[in-house]
């Protein structure tokens, strides 16, 4: 198998034209047929792993299953033809990075690792029949890895669903990130940018506070009379609180209000309302909605009684609710790890290894995940939190959490190194 250097990968994937998938080509040229549901399509190689979701966890899992056992067929189902990194996407808001520099293709997974990619959305999982529904057809599997990330509980905030694209979340990197950056750019000097942070748990605990830093840095340097107001549903900054509060000393234009859950948004009046009835006017608003596991996990009833997150075995990531179905990444709950990109990548490797062992009739090794979260507090300085874990009696427990003593350009170098390495670990 030819190796692609990380540099080649980054060169080839960022900004390069997307090769149109052969599958999409088939879709356009195939003549319509009678609406019959075909017999289950059996795997060609005898044993098949399906991965739903090509983000940090799913793409990693697909690659590692193929790396660890090339005799297994792996099909990755992912609606997007491009991978856009959520980590570092707050830097797009401040104009420090372009969205193109965070956008990569899936070509190496296909060409270097033999992962078969279908750009579509899985609509149902039938664990008893071991099959996934895709359109009107089904794909059977031996083991399924579900990595659907998060979806938004838009209904939790009055007016949010109706607001459509006039109120942006920008919490899945892509067009919304670019649109919010544009709104920030067009905001008048002297304007008010309001962002709301949902109650935990949500994707990327330090992410909203990093975003506050980036927006505040941008306003400080470009619109010195403008203001950022952060409305946090939580009682305090929930990640690296002392470090973020120290970093905010540089931003007198940033006002942080704890215990200020936004319950209503009114785009016509350009106003949000908190649960205590406070009304706040905005020029630009960024509502990060409450979150739950991705839609397919809810539809397949992999979520627990909270109807939000999926409980899994700490060693194999097999769902506690469905046999042969593994869930990884932000959709999971119960493992004492944050919903971070590093964790999803780590879970992807561990679940892939578990699947390869189990499919070959062997016990899965007991591997703990890791976590690193780098946060950009300006255009050039970064701070971090690191968590290491071990497995104790079949459960993940933390060995230690460490914070950087502060922010620095050295940690910014480490952050960039981490990003380049982990993007390649996922996709190259």
């Amino acid at each position: 198998m030819a190796r692609m250097s990380r540099r080649d990968f980054l060169k080839a994937s960022s900004g390069a034209a997307v090769a149109v998938s052969g599958l999409a080509g088939c879709a356009r040229t195939a003549a319509p047929t009678a609406m019959t549901t075909p017999a289950d399509l059996a795997p060609t190689s005898g044993r098949r792993v399906i991965v739903i979701g090509g983000g940090w966890g799913g793409a990693t899992a697909a690659k590692y299953v193929r790396m660890e056992d090339p005799s297994l067929e792996v099909i990755l189902i992912e609606p997007n033809t491009k991978f856009v990194s959520c980590p570092f996407s707050n830097l797009v808001l401040s104009g420090v990075r372009s969205i193109g520099s965070l956008t990569f293709g899936y070509n190496a997974l296909r060409e270097q690792h033999g992962v078969r990619i279908i750009h579509d959305t899985a609509t149902a999982i039938e664990p008893d029949a071991r099959r996934v529904r895709l359109g009107r057809g089904f794909l059977t599997y031996d083991r399924l890895i579900v990595a659907p990330g998060v979806d938004f509980q838009t209904e939790q905030i009055e007016g949010l669903a109706a607001a459509g694209d006039s109120v942006l979340h920008a919490w899945k990197a892509g067009p919304q990130t670019v649109a919010l950056a544009q709104q920030l750019k067009e905001m008048p000097d002297g304007g008010v940018f309001v962002m709301s942070i949902p109650p935990a748990a949500y994707r990327c605990p330090p992410g909203p506070y990093e975003r506050a830093c980036q927006v505040a840095w941008y306003l400080k340097t470009r619109k010195p009379r403008a203001k950022l107001l952060v409305l946090d549903a939580n009682q305090n900054v929930i990640s690296k609180p002392a470090l973020f509060r120290a970093a905010w000393q540089a931003y007198p234009n940033l006002e942080y209000r704890a215990s200020s859950k936004v319950v209503k948004v009114d785009p016509a009046a350009r106003e949000v309302t908190t649960e205590f009835g406070d009304k706040v006017r905005y020029d630009v608003v960024n509502v990060i909605p409450p979150q739950r596991a991705g839609a397919i996990a809810v539809a397949a009833d992999l979520v627990g009684v909270d109807k939000r997150w999926c409980e899994v075995d700490h060693v194999t990531y097999e769902s506690v609710k469905a046999k042969n179905v593994h869930v990884i990444g932000d959709s999971t709950i119960g493992i004492p790890v944050p919903k971070s990109g590093t964790v999803a990548n780590s879970m992807g490797k561990i679940a892939a290894t578990a699947v390869v062992h189990l499919i070959n009739g062997r016990a899965a090794p007991q591997m703990p995940p890791i976590n690193t979260c780098y946060s950009w507090v300006s255009d050039s300085e970064v701070m971090a939190v690191v968590n290491a874990y071990r497995i104790d009696n079949g459960k993940v427990v933390q060995i230690e959490q460490k914070l950087t003593p502060g922010q620095s350009t050295l940690y910014a170098q480490h952050a960039m190194a981490w990003a380049a390495s982990i993007w390649a670990d996922i996709l190259a």
Binding site: R6, G22, L23, C26, A27, A30, T33, M35, T36, T37, P38, L41, T44, Y64, M67, E68, D69, P70, S71, E73, R110, G114, R116, I118, T121, T123, L134, G135, R136, G137, L139, T342, S346, K349, T353, H357, M367, P369, I370, T372, A384, V386, N387, A388, R390, I399, E400, K402, L403, T404, L410, Q413, H414, M416, A417, W418, A420, S421, A424, D425
Partner: protein, 204 residues
């Protein structure tokens, strides 16, 4: 789900399967390589099998096992202060430091691809005489003296380490390194960058 595409979807899937890539050979994967599973977490920062392509993160592939184990021990004990590596070194020790170090030591060494300037390399070569006393003329280090192989490491990593030594932030208070730190404090940062370029260029 796009409406109207459903009717042809089974055919799409069938076509996808029929035109699939040729099945890969059913060879054993790396999963049974000793240390592979214990070490794969490290690739999030240190690159595939320890072959870091990032300028600020060291290459682990092909480094001698004794040095990797010493680094893990020093990080875990706080002798080499690092908020990132201290927790991970403690984790590596729970997984088996021998196995992880042995895994990386057995990987093929691939030199850094970070750009290094010719003039900087030449200047670094001139400035390296003192370093050679412990790191060797070839820069490959010496286990008896406890000095690591510097060749082919990313220049950014090498420079950062020298700056940390200079600022008494790497191995603070280690009496065996006192003379080295005195020496480094006498060198300006530009020359340290030249030294980093020179040692990174060796073995490429």
């Amino acid at each position: 789900m796009r409406r109207g595409a459903g009717a042809i979807r089974p055919l799409v899937i069938a076509a996808a399967l029929a035109t699939a890539l040729a099945a890969a050979p059913a060879t054993a994967g790396p999963v049974d390589t000793p240390g592979f599973t214990s070490a794969f977490s490290c690739s999030a920062c240190h690159g595939r099998a320890g072959a870091s392509r990032a300028d600020a993160v060291p290459i682990l592939a092909g480094m001698p096992a004794w040095y990797l184990k010493k680094a893990i021990d020093d990080y875990a004990a706080g002798r080499r202060p690092s908020p990132e590596m201290e927790p991970f070194s403690k984790m590596v020790k729970t997984l088996g430091a021998d196995e992880v170090a042995g895994y990386f030591a057995a990987q093929p060494r691939e030199a850094s691809q970070s750009k290094v300037d010719r003039t900087a390399i030449a200047n670094g070569r001139t400035a390296s005489a003192t370093c050679a006393a412990c790191h060797g003329e070839d820069g490959r280090g010496n286990q008896a003296k406890g000095t690591p192989d510097l060749t082919g490491q990313p220049p950014g990593y090498l420079l950062n380490q020298m700056k940390l030594f200079k600022a008494e932030k790497r191995s603070p208070g280690d009496a065996t390194l006192t003379s080295i730190k005195v020496f480094m404090k006498s060198i300006d940062d530009k020359t340290l960058a030249d030294l980093a370029a020179y040692y990174s260029s060796l073995g490429r």
